[in-house]
């Protein structure tokens, strides 16, 4: 593979910091595009939130996925969820989910809420994993804690991450912060993310750009595609 990505027009600097990166050292990370969070009939939908906000990034992510697959890039999908016996569910997480009427492990509109193997926990068809793509099941908001993600990335020689997914301020941000502390050079895409609260989406993106890019950079899928040299 000879394709390279960068420099990508981004905020606050041209990404990546080291000019450009071979596609085989870069991974596309698709975070928690699950039916319960963004699918019609999922629990976020059933709770009365406007899923247009969490679905907003799907078309751009699907387009970028196709681009990255063509380059042969490593694609990683994550899913938030718990074992059916809930042995990996912290008590306070369960309690808080019950407080807002969506108790993890309880019956939801698409099976037991956030339980592995249930229909609502599956990734939506628009960005479904292709055979051979890595899927990381995570019990928390961050994709690094209690998962093999770091090991997979290091084993594959990945140094740079392009982040998509939902929600911007919760799981995407937590994962980006974890990745940044581990030394990965991160790019988050404003058109491939979304949140239930547009104010939190905007603030989360803004936070990334402060202090010279405290967690990395913000860009768009079009700018990544435009900055790819095959």
């Amino acid at each position: 593979m000879t394709a390279r990505i960068g420099p990508v027009k981004a905020n606050p600097y041209l990404w990546p910091y080291d000019g450009s990166v071979p596609a085989d050292r870069t991974a596309l990370v698709c975070i928690d595009w699950q039916t319960d969070f963004c699918g019609p009939g999922g629990y976020v939908d059933a709770m009365g939130y406007d899923i247009a906000l969490t679905r907003a990034g799907l078309p751009a992510t699907a387009r970028l996925l196709a681009h990255c697959r063509e380059l042969g890039m490593l694609v990683i999908h994550t899913r938030e969820g718990h074992d059916p016996d809930l042995s990996d569910l912290p008590a306070n997480k369960r309690w808080r989910s019950a407080q807002i009427g969506a108790e993890i492990g309880g019956p939801g509109p698409c099976g037991r809420i956030l339980v592995r193997g249930e229909p609502g926990w599956e990734i939506v068809p628009e960005v479904a994993p292709a055979p051979g793509e890595v899927i990381v099941d995570k019990p928390g908001k961050g994709a690094f804690y209690a998962t093999n993600l770091d090991l997979v990335l290091r084993t594959r020689g990945i140094t740079h991450l392009i982040l998509t997914g939902i929600t911007t301020d919760v799981c995407v941000h937590t994962t980006m912060r974890e990745a940044n502390d581990r030394g990965y050079e991160c790019l988050i895409l404003s058109d491939c993310t979304g949140a239930t609260d547009p104010d939190n989406h905007a603030a989360a993106l803004h936070m990334v750009t402060m202090q010279g890019g405290v967690f990395g950079c913000v860009s768009t899928s079009d700018d990544v595609i435009a900055a790819t040299e095959v």
Binding site: I100, K141, G142, D181, G212, V214
Partner: protein
């Protein structure tokens, strides 16, 4: 079991399993003329936390409860500083208070007002989060800590990253609005809002006088 008024719901904790976490109250971030200010930041936004935090720390100590301090910084040879971080910042360069964010330098240490007492743990962390590449999880585990009272700077960077890590690990986090600070008032507001959103997705938010009254 003390219970205090908090967002989004009252916060209860057990005195036997609670610790006060004081994040990165370092000279490089807080002193006028230091690294934080040299980036154009208004350090008074952070310094307003010193007084309430000092009061809380003395009440917390008087109750015989544990305090854990953290410091962000790197080895003098920068061997633990990722290249991407080094390229973006001034880390290791000469600043007003020694090499910026380097362990052992004057600017890297905690401000005089909040100096750790003998026996209190100081965790040195290479990142924004206090769990990654540190012994914090082991320390909390050994002491049987379940509840973390989180204070320090800055709200949206190191405080938020640490609360997110702690929350995923099952700790119940209470963030004290008057004891955490950001250089940017907008991020202070939205940072606290994000913690208590969606039924307290990362934890709870309260003010320190309510906590002091409860212990």
């Amino acid at each position: 079991m003390p219970t205090i008024d908090a967002e989004p719901t009252p916060y209860s904790f057990d005195l036997d399993s609670a610790a006060l976490l004081v994040i990165d109250m370092q000279r490089d971030f807080l002193l006028p003329g230091g690294f934080g200010e040299s980036l154009g930041n208004d350090v008074s936004q952070l310094r307003r936390t010193i007084e309430p935090l000092a009061a809380l720390m003395s009440a917390w100590r008087a109750a015989g409860l544990p305090i854990i301090h953290t410091r962000e910084g790197h080895e003098p040879d920068l061997s633990d500083c990722p290249p991407a971080k080094l390229a973006r910042g001034a880390i290791g360069q000469q600043g007003a208070f020694g090499r910026i964010l380097i362990r052992g330098e004057y600017g890297h240490d905690i401000i005089d007002e909040l100096r750790p007492a003998g026996g209190e743990v100081v965790v040195d962390k290479p990142g924004k989060g206090a769990f990654y590449a540190t012994e914090l999880a082991e320390i909390l585990d050994k002491q049987g800590i379940k509840s973390l009272i989180v204070t320090g700077v800055t709200t949206e960077v190191c405080v938020h990253t640490t609360v997110r890590e702690a929350n995923d690990r099952g700790y119940e986090c209470l963030v004290l609005a008057d004891c955490v600070g950001s250089y940017f008032p907008e991020f202070q507001r939205v940072g606290l809002q994000m913690i208590a959103a969606q039924g307290g997705i990362f934890g709870w938010v309260a003010e320190s006088p309510a906590l002091i009254a409860a212990i």
